[in-house]
Amino acid sequence: MLQAVNPKNQAVNPEDPEQNEADELVPAAEPKAGHAPLDAAVETQADLSAEIQSIGDAYRRALKDGAAPETQPRLDYAPYRSSILRHPTKSLHHADPETIELYSPAFGHQDVHALESDLTIQHNGEPQGERMIVQGRVLDGDGHPVAGQLVEIWQANAAGRYIHKRDQHPAPLDPNFTGVGRCITGPDGSYRFTTIKPGAYPWKNHLNAWRPAHIHFSLFGTEFTQRIVTQMYFPGDQLFPLDPIYQSIVDQDARDRLVAAYDHSLTSPEWALGYRWDIILTGSKRTWTENEAFGASGDDEE
């Protein structure tokens, strides 16, 4: 019998608002629990959509009045309920990156086997679902390729189920799919994964909350300040307007940067559909003076 596990390994206490808020997971004490109305007082998609709409409207008015476009998600974005107690309330402190921050850890083929970029060959059989290729380049803000760096991905299977023990969504696990991949970028900053198109999955932010299909990406640049974790989405997903995580990026142009493009030239005949997604990291901050101060110790390619 499956047990609902909450993040603190405690029994779920409906009187504890913090605990309820922290629990995004679909309880699986009963196989259909995730689909049943959880509570008469629970917030609906309409409630959340109204909040999302209101924040978006305010942003568009500000843009019209000359505000600068926002390019990153808001840390303070209440429609994603778990962010309420987890965002800094003070402004980020502007700092000039120094010493170690101007370099990035080094990864290489010692760290990652070439086969780790194919998520469809990690088990004895073929995973279920729509086989796909995702390919693109990692570039810095000046357009330079980020070569020889680590890219990590993780995702749900075709049914929208993560293999993570805390995902209790009552969709089937696939014994032939783990959903984790890694690769090292090529000299031109390129990466390529073969995988299965992930399904949408339900979560407990509000009643009938569904995440659009996505692949999590973790990226390093040539400097530690360029470190980023993000999510890649698929074009035309009907869940975009409903999703507080995607909508935490209030600017449409910025949101579009997370959506891969279908690319028939990447599609492999009678094998897999191809998607292209390039990732732009922030600009390089390292200067000649800084390099000189540290001699050749980390000055690898410039």
Binding site: K90, Q110, R227, L258
Partner: protein
Amino acid sequence: MSKLTATPGQTVGPFFGYALPFPKDNELLAPGSPGSIRLQGTVYDGAGHTIPDAILEIWQPDSEGNIVQRTGSLVRDGYTFTGWGRASVGNTGVYTFTTVNPGPTKPGSAPFISVTVFARGLMNRLFTRIYLPGDKEALANDPLLSSLPEDRRNTLIARRDPDGGLTWDVRLQGEGETVFLDFHADTTEGAAQ
């Protein structure tokens, strides 16, 4: 100013636990080896509750202050110091690294460890620093620390444990909120919109 606009970040979500951790991810040095110390702390939310689903990364110079550019962090051989590590917090919000005290990268400068914080519910990664306690003069002269009011400055300075290790907590919000850094003044990023 960059020519291209950066791709937005997104939360690490709740399900990184089967993907990002790897064996010895938090052991920059083998525990118990000469010079190794424990770096530990707890991650708290704005209500003062511990966060059980955060993951931290550190990146630091070696004990001599050298910035290392060696591969092998993901498949550690037990001898090579790569300067980088990753630690998921446990159920009680506690993370642990085995590492070395970083040396000063310039004579007289205050040694620090660079940190990235990720968590479910945190929309984008946060950068910060862990300074070593001890060298009062170096800390007083540090450009970042001296630009902060005293109560906030202390959120970036670790405590020395009786066993020689370091303790440094992360408070994402509220009283004693950790100072988080924005290295990219040319982008719009942050809590204050």
